[in-house]
């Protein structure tokens, strides 16, 4: 069966790492048709729209989407794209790899981030001059969806520790609902779990990441905690992510368009290639997903490495090394 994959490189290093991931996918024995769409600062400068209707439709119609990064317009691109694919779960594994210089070399955590609500509601008002509000929304339905997804993910992927992150001591009603719904899901499944206030969790993650497995988080907490964990394992160049919906999904590196190094051909393609591996898993090509991960891990361990990891290799050299190991 042919799968149609929408490819949206976007801006900056998105233009450099996305082709690398596509090359890796093309090297596998999978039946993918690639269609390419525009999004981001560049297309906005040309057309006035950061996310053209054609790109939206492409992502909606595809079996899965690979997205690189966008610049200033990142939120205008990625937030609607997550909606287009119906994503309710943002899955962000943070793993330290042998041989890399990590702040915490013993990290193997998957953040399962609620991806539709919280402070991402987009509802903001000016009440009077100088006084503005944002309506943070938490529903039982979205809380249940993310908790079910998180506990299922932990079970399927062999994680014993599940932590529910929240700030229900301050956001009593909203995070209270998130917490109580997630706890109810755990009880229904007879699953073990811990709960953690998100501030205390930030501290513990820094000191003892080895104590955590799957962390189920509200939207903004997941945004911050997964970036924190990127810092623990050696930077954003390593973190892939999946935005998972019922019938569609989008895969993207956690990093942005990195304007400081864009155009130099030295961006680390690992996060993007690992995102492609998550896409393979998602479409049922688990063995291929594992092969790609093993190849990337081999290269991370033995080099060549891009400058963000202390090496001096180019994006192309790293990509070729991954291809050689497939």
């Amino acid at each position: 069966m042919t799968h149609e994959i929408a490819v949206i490189p976007g801006d900056g290093i998105g233009q450099e790492v996305t082709p690398a991931a596509v090359e890796v996918l093309e090297a596998l024995d999978v039946d993918f048709d690639f269609v390419e769409g525009d999004a981001g600062d560049a297309v906005k400068a040309e057309t006035g729209e950061a996310l053209p209707q054609a790109t939206r439709k492409m992502a909606a119609d595809a079996d899965a989407t690979l997205f690189g990064a966008a610049g200033e317009t990142a939120a205008d691109v990625i937030l609607p794209l997550r909606e287009v694919v119906g994503s309710f779960a943002n899955v962000r594994p943070a793993v330290s790899y042998p041989g890399l210089d990590a702040v915490q070399p013993d990290t193997d955590i998957v953040f399962v981030r609620e991806n539709t609500e919280g402070v991402y509601s987009g509802i903001e008002d000016e009440i009077t001059e100088g006084v503005r509000t944002l309506t943070r929304v938490v529903t039982e339905e979205a809380s249940r969806d993310i908790a079910e997804f998180g506990f299922d993910y932990a079970k399927q992927n062999g994680f014993d520790d599940v932590t529910i992150a929240h700030k229900a001591n301050v956001m009593r009603e909203t995070d209270g609902l998130f917490l109580e719904t997630a706890e109810a899901v755990a009880e229904e499944r007879g699953a073990d779990y811990d709960t953690a206030l998100m501030d205390a969790l930030a501290m513990h993650l820094v000191m003892h990441p080895e104590d955590y497995g799957v962390v189920i988080c509200p939207n903004l907490a997941g945004d911050m905690l997964s970036d924190l964990a990127a810092g623990l394992v050696g930077g954003l160049g390593l973190l892939p992510s999946a935005n998972v919906g019922e019938e569609n999904a989008l895969f993207e590196p956690v990093h942005g368009s990195a304007p400081d190094i864009a155009g130099q051909g030295v961006a680390n393609p690992s996060a993007m290639i690992l995102s492609a591996a998550m896409l393979l898993d998602h479409l049922g090509y688990d063995d291929e997903g594992d092969r790609v991960r093993a190849a990337v891990e081999g290269v991370l361990d033995e080099g060549p490495r891009t400058p963000d990891l202390g090496g001096d290799a180019s994006t192309d050299e790293v990509t070729s090394a991954v291809l050689d190991r497939l």
Copy 2:
């Protein structure tokens, strides 16, 4: 001039570390009158109120308050107490000390956290069953107050780097107002500064804390980022904080009541004693504040140390060692 200091030990290790800090203050040549008040789980169990009116009044009337920690009722105690003292700025230095095993030994950051609004508004609603909202409030006035405080603090304390943390790419109107107001303050003062998205900042703080000095944050971001930084320097047992108002202030360790170790006499009193040092600075006893900090630093460097820092000393032994060095 005699200063009246309200002392509120609270629950758990608050009962152990607060007397330690008072002992240190009593050993100095300062004219303090101490009055003690109840707050927390224990007094709630007895009286039904986590923060009795008498304690509220004591904090309101005092020149400054020392607060230990509260248990389950932490939010019911500390949030109203911050209001009672009119605190708009929560100052949280995170410093790594020589000789201690820190995740990042080169950390010297002061978080200046907005302390009155954001998601701490307390405005929550149930819209319909299973759908709840929280109104996040950002005002120009509070944003200006915290930014002015932050830039002044940086100048007075010799910090070159000031970073304004925000998530204005998602919370466009609210954090947009926070960011633009803080930037306006910087321009007015001709001060250098950087801005950082709070997620990216979490990553950079973990990898390169040495790049940061003063970080001005919205309320919840400051809550999380300062705990993150506590993890970098060796745990919450080391972080003091000041809740500063126009005419009053409250000083407390960043840690909580630590029920797991409460009652054993092994709690690290450093954060609490360092909070007392901030109280001394605040009341104009800068030399005494420096003396206390130097004594604590000496003990952290050479021991004795409590178990959280890998030692086996008791709270009393550490406190005596600090007193010996004064």
